[in-house]
Structure formats: structure tokens, C-alpha cells
């Protein structure tokens, strides 16, 4: 089998198999996690472009093949992006094994990874938008898995992604037209505007951000975090692929200033709104907004360092969000109202708080090193913007503290005063399962170790960033 097709077909086949095995939920979820891990490790560890024999089958990691007359190209940059997606997926599916075993998350999530891989592999890029859209439509099912939860998150998420589709499709056609008639620069401006508009919708930039907190608030925690990480990561890598394919996009003189301004505005808005929140899921959404702002600022630096920092931020986001969502899922098994929940689910509460701190770039956590790098990068050119970014994180810190106080407050009455809606019939468990506690401790320790020794993974981030030769050093 050809390498690129393997990474689309195998996840989809295994997704269908695991769906049929859903009567044995643990086995099905572990199968999904195992396949995702295996594919991720293959992408990261196997030699690129050389034939590899496994179980009598020979295939080549890398190169180009054809599917339905369209090219699938597995280059070094796509390899790193897909490796990231599958490894992130493996981590999330492992958590789902214990925290959300009854949902469709694992099979649908793996199928989505196959589609997202397709989006990154297929050429021309016009098809990538369609693969992405199909993955997003599928994601609604596990996102709204809890029948008692409001459906706002799924609706808003779907709406914003549908609105982004036309821009990506039409811009491709405009660019093809421009190559035939290079004197019509209006085509280029129009294509740039459409690409910018579409990616603003997909990344949830201000003013297209309402779906981000909604997904955090109403969606199933692990699925919401998976969307922010895997779909968000795929969108980010797709943006880098666009910049690689159409290098003139970064040639605009306003490019860096516009990206930095958009990033800072998104982060400040997320920080400001996050300050006033008392909902654990909503705060997760606003923290993602701040993180997206930092990502844009890193990209706006238009340098190899900035790109590496962007990838490092994405790595840290995956780990932090997994921990935060695991904590939130653990808390929600106890009830949707937060008051006093830390006394019933201390490890889940700790996981949520540490995951949140890491996501906002607090010292001694995984998110600190890349965020510090972004501050330093921005401070050299625009100290005011760097300060605004720092204040946005501080705002979220206040929000985290408010929720933490709420979690620590012993309830005076059986029903507390949590800000998020309590679905009828939520039945609390008395204690956290030992295996859940072990998983949470592993992720908490990992966050601190990554924070203390960022050099352990900074190399991988720099290597992944270097796979996208967009900017100079």
C-alpha cells in the first residue's frame, strides 16, 4: 500500500471496526488509541522516503500517489503535521478510555484524523477544505454526546465552518485564474481577502470567536479539547501549507502588522471575557482564544524562530488542553455545578487548574516556555503589544482563580451556584476511579516536567517548524 493512502484509509477502517465493537467499549477505545499511536510513531520515527517492510508488506513513507485522480503528497511538513495529529489523538483516546467511554468520541475521532490527514495530503488544496468540512460535520455527534447538554456549541461550530468553506474554494479558482492573467492584480487581492476571512473563521479570531467559548461550555470536554487541538492544529498546518504554496501571501507589507494586531486583539478579548467567567468549560474556550492570539503573534514575526515558537505553542496547547479537559470531564462526572467539587474530585480539580495554568503560559508548566518566547519576540518590536498579551493571560488567571475558589468552597446546600447549566439527572459518583487518578497524575507530572525541562521537546518543535520553509532565519 502506498504511504499516503495508508494514513487516510487505515484510520477510517479502524474507526468503522471500533464502532461495530462498541459493545466492548474499553477494547474498542484502546484499539483506536493503539492504532493512532502506531501511526503517529510511524510518521515520526520511520526513515522518510525509504522503503519499509512490515508483516510482509513494503511501503514508502513519503512521496506522491494518486486517489480518484487527485494527488496525495506526503512531504516532510505534512509528515510532521500528521505525526502531531495522530500522537495527540492517541493521548485523547487514552483519556477517553476512562473518562468518556460511552460516547462516539474514539471511533469518530479516529475517522476525523483520517479525514484531516486527507486534508493535509491532498492537492490541489481546494479539496482540503472539503475534507475539513466533512470532518467537522462528523465531529458534531460526539461533541453533543450528552443529550442533556444544550446544542449551541455544535450549531455555532458547524455554522462558522460552513461559512468558511466558500472562501477557500473560490480563492483557489481565483489564483488559478491569476496564473493565466497575471496582469489582473485584483484577483490576487480578492483571493488574499477570502483566504484571510476563511482562516479567521476557522481559527475563531475576533469577531468570529463566538463558537470557541460555546464549544468549551456546552460540548463534551474531551471532544471539545480534541477539536481545539486536532482540528485547530490541522487548520493551523493548513494555513502554513497555504503560505508555502502561495508565498506572495507573506509578501504584503501589512502582513506582519495585521497578524500581530489580530492576534493581540483576539488574545485581549479572550482575556477580558475570561476574567468575568465562572464556568469551567467557558474559561477553557477563552483560554484557547488567548492561545490562538499568541500563535498568530508568533506567525506574525515572519521568521523561522516565530514559526518554531508557533509549533511549540501548539504542542503545549495539546498537552495543556488534554489535562484541562480530563479534569473537566472528571468534574462533570460528579455534577455540573462547581461549588465544592474539589472535595469530591480533588485530582480532577487539580488537573483542570494545572491544565488551565499551562494553557495561559504560567511558569513551571508546559505552556510557559513557548509563551515566554512569544513575549520576548514581541517585546523586541512592540512592547505595548507584548504587555497586552501578558495582561490577557493575567485576566485568564483571575478567571481561573475565581473558578478555583468556587471549587474549593464547601457547599452550604446540596445544589451549588455554578455558572454553567446543570442538566437534569446528572448523578454524582462518590469517588474518582483509581485508574482515572493515575492517568491524571501522569498528565500533571508531565506538564510540570515539560515546564521544568522545555529543552526535552523544544527540539521537536523547532524541527517541525523547520519543515515549513516559509520564512528565512
Amino acid at each position: 500500500m502506498s504511504g499516503p493512502i495508508l494514513f487516510i484509509a487505515l484510520p477510517m477502517v479502524v474507526a468503522v471496526v471500533s464502532y461495530t465493537l462498541r459493545a466492548w467499549r474499553a477494547a474498542a477505545t484502546l484499539l483506536v488509541a493503539g492504532v493512532s499511536l502506531a501511526l503517529g510513531l510511524m510518521l515520526v520515527l520511520l526513515p522518510f522516503g525509504e522503503p519499509v517492510t512490515f508483516l510482509g508488506q513494503t511501503f514508502v513513507l513519503g512521496g506522491e500517489t494518486s486517489l480518484l485522480g487527485r494527488a496525495l503528497v506526503l512531504g516532510p511538513s505534512t509528515r510532521m503535521a500528521m505525526g502531531f495529529l495522530f500522537l495527540v489523538g492517541a493521548g485523547f483516546f487514552l483519556l477517553a478510555w476512562q473518562l468518556e467511554p460511552q460516547t462516539l468520541f474514539a471511533p469518530v475521532g479516529l475517522g476525523m484524523l483520517g479525514l484531516l490527514s486527507g486534508a493535509l495530503l491532498i492537492r490541489p488544496l481546494v479539496y482540503a477544505a472539503l475534507f475539513l468540512e466533512i470532518a467537522v460535520a462528523l465531529s458534531v455527534f460526539p461533541l453533543q454526546a450528552d443529550p442533556r447538554a444544550p446544542v449551541r456549541s455544535g450549531l455555532r461550530y458547524l455554522t462558522f465552518f460552513v461559512l468558511a468553506l466558500p472562501g477557500l474554494l473560490v480563492s483557489h479558482w481565483l489564483l488559478e485564474l491569476y496564473t493565466l492573467t497575471p496582469d489582473q492584480s485584483g484577483l490576487l487581492y480578492m483571493a488574499t481577502a477570502l483566504i484571510g476571512f476563511s482562516f479567521a473563521l476557522l481559527l475563531g479570531l475576533v469577531p468570529f470567536h463566538p463558537w470557541v467559548p460555546a464549544v468549551g461550555r456546552d460540548g463534551a470536554p474531551l471532544m471539545a479539547a480534541f477539536l481545539f487541538t486536532a482540528v485547530g492544529g490541522a487548520v493551523w498546518f493548513l494555513l502554513l501549507t497555504y503560505l508555502q504554496a502561495y508565498p506572495w501571501l507573506t509578501d504584503y507589507p501589512q502582513w506582519a502588522a495585521a497578524l500581530t494586531a489580530l492576534g493581540v486583539i483576539t488574545a485581549v478579548m479572550g482575556g477580558l471575557l475570561g476574567t468575568a467567567q465562572r464556568g469551567a468549560g467557558t474559561l477553557m474556550g477563552y483560554a484557547v482564544m488567548v492561545d490562538t492570539g499568541a500563535l498568530l503573534v508568533a506567525l506574525g514575526a515572519s521568521s523561522h524562530t516565530g514559526l518554531g515558537l508557533g509549533v511549540a505553542t501548539l504542542f503545549a496547547r495539546a498537552w495543556s488542553l488534554a489535562l484541562m479537559a480530563a479534569g473537566l470531564a472528571g468534574l462533570r462526572t460528579q455534577g455540573w455545578e462547581l461549588t465544592g467539587l474539589s472535595w469530591r474530585a480533588p485530582w480532577s480539580a487539580l488537573a483542570w487548574v494545572i491544565g488551565g495554568l499551562s494553557l495561559i503560559g504560567f511558569p513551571l508548566t508546559a505552556g510557559f516556555a513557548p509563551r515566554w518566547g512569544v513575549y520576548r519576540l514581541l517585546f523586541a518590536t512592540d512592547p505595548g503589544a507584548a504587555l497586552a498579551l501578558l495582561l490577557a493571560s493575567t485576566g485568564l488567571c483571575v478567571g481561573l482563580l475565581r473558578v478555583f475558589v468556587q471549587l474549593m468552597t464547601r457547599p452550604a446546600k446540596p445544589v451549588g451556584s455554578g455558572a454553567e447549566e446543570q442538566p437534569a439527572g446528572a448523578t454524582p459518583h462518590q469517588v474518582e476511579q483509581p485508574i482515572v487518578v493515575i492517568l491524571l497524575i501522569v498528565f500533571i507530572v508531565g506538564t510540570v516536567v515539560w515546564g521544568l525541562f522545555p529543552q526535552l521537546w523544544a527540539g521537536a518543535a523547532v524541527q517541525a517548524g523547520a519543515a515549513f520553509p516559509i520564512f528565512g532565519p
Binding site: R70, I134, A137, P147, P150, L158
Partner: protein
């Protein structure tokens, strides 16, 4: 197939201004109606009219496939509407808003919605004149704008999953009418069809969970 193509050829005189007038009427009905049966019927007619208009920009066979996908989407909405009606009959809260008084099929805020319909017409007309889509004939240009703007308004004016879903599908139908002229590839048609159908499934899934949650509706 040849009989169907002959039929399409016979009704092709409709694939101009009459179809656009029909589209506007259907959009108005979808906008002011609240009965799911009316909305599903409206979508069936809408996909027929869009299919007719499509015959002018793409091959009739492909236009027919697009119309069939649209009617499959309508069938899915119909089954969901029936299911939710039955759930309502069993004492559970129905997705379909309870009918009141002498206006069983109309939304409560009809005057506002009529104003919105007017706004859709004005915006679509002004848009088609100011930013014409030169790759399609003039009347199809207006139809694209009508569908896209109408779909956006329909999706934006409600938090009810079925209505939002209808809005998104109408928006996509308008875009496909334009994009078909640019990219007639069958793979794109197939992928866009799959996208539309999956959006329908997602929306109907949310409609069912929405009814189960018993949320307050606007």
C-alpha cells in the same frame, strides 16, 4: 435517464426568471413558516428550482444528481420531523413549536420576518448589481445572492437546530450554484454532496438532542 433528460429539456423554459421568482417565494415561505411540514415541502421545491437553474451552468445529469441529493436531504428532515412529532405526541416536548390560534403555520413574529424577507431581496439585488458574479448568467447571479443571503438570515435568526440547518443548506445551495460553473469536477460535486448530507445528519441529530434536552426556544 433519457426520459428524465427529455423532461428537463421540456421544463428548461422555467430555468430563468420564473425559477428565481419561485426561489424568492419559497424563501419567503421558509422564513415566515414555523410548521416543519411546510419547511420540508419548501425545501423540496427549492431543490427542484435550484436543479433547474443548475442545468444552465452544468451538465443536466450532474444537475439531476445534485437535485437528488437535495431531495434525500429533505427526506431526512421529513423523517426527523415525523419522529419528533411522535415524541411530542407521547408527552415529551416536541421540536416543533406548538400551534396557536388562527395562525397554525406562521411564526409569531411575522411582520418582522416579512421585513427580513424584504431586506434579503434588497441586499441580494444590490449585491448582484454591485459585485456581479461574471462567471454565471445575470439571472443566476441574482439567484446565487438570494440563496446565500436568505440562507444566512435563516440560519442567523434562530437557535433551533432544524432552522439553522435549513439556513446553512440553502447557503450552500446558493454557493454550489455559483461554484458549479467554476469547478464542474464530479469529485467536487460528490464531496459537496457528502458535506451537505453530513451537515443534515448532524443537524437532525442536534434537533433530536435539543428536543430531549427540552430547552427553551426563542
Amino acid at each position: 435517464m433519457s426520459t428524465i433528460l427529455q423532461f428537463i429539456d421540456r421544463v428548461s423554459f422555467l430555468a430563468a426568471m420564473p425559477a428565481i421568482v419561485g426561489l424568492f417565494i419559497v424563501l419567503s415561505v421558509l422564513m415566515i413558516s414555523r410548521a416543519w411540514q411546510t419547511q420540508v415541502l419548501g425545501m423540496v421545491v427549492l431543490y427542484l428550482l435550484v436543479g433547474l437553474l443548475n442545468t444552465r451552468v452544468i451538465r443536466p445529469e450532474v444537475a439531476l444528481i445534485k437535485a437528488l441529493i437535495g431531495w434525500l436531504i429533505c427526506l431526512t428532515f421529513y423523517v426527523t420531523g415525523r419522529y419528533l412529532d411522535e415524541q411530542g405526541g407521547r408527552g415529551k416536548k416536541s421540536l416543533v413549536e406548538p400551534r396557536q390560534g388562527w395562525r397554525p403555520f406562521l411564526a409569531a413574529d411575522v411582520p418582522l420576518r416579512l421585513l427580513v424577507v424584504l431586506a434579503v431581496l434588497v441586499i441580494a439585488y444590490a449585491g448582484s448589481l454591485t459585485f456581479p458574479l461574471r462567471q454565471v448568467p445575470g439571472d443566476i447571479n441574482l439567484a446565487c445572492y438570494l440563496l446565500v443571503v436568505g440562507g444566512l438570515f435563516l440560519a442567523g435568526m434562530s437557535e433551533e437546530p432544524l432552522r439553522v440547518g435549513l439556513g446553512l443548506l440553502i447557503f450552500l445551495a446558493g454557493f454550489e450554484l455559483f461554484f458549479g460553473a467554476l469547478e464542474p469536477s464530479l469529485v467536487v460535486v460528490g464531496l459537496l454532496g457528502a458535506t451537505g448530507f453530513l451537515i443534515t445528519l448532524a443537524v437532525t441529530f442536534m434537533a433530536v438532542t435539543h428536543a430531549a434536552a427540552g430547552e427553551e426556544r426563542p
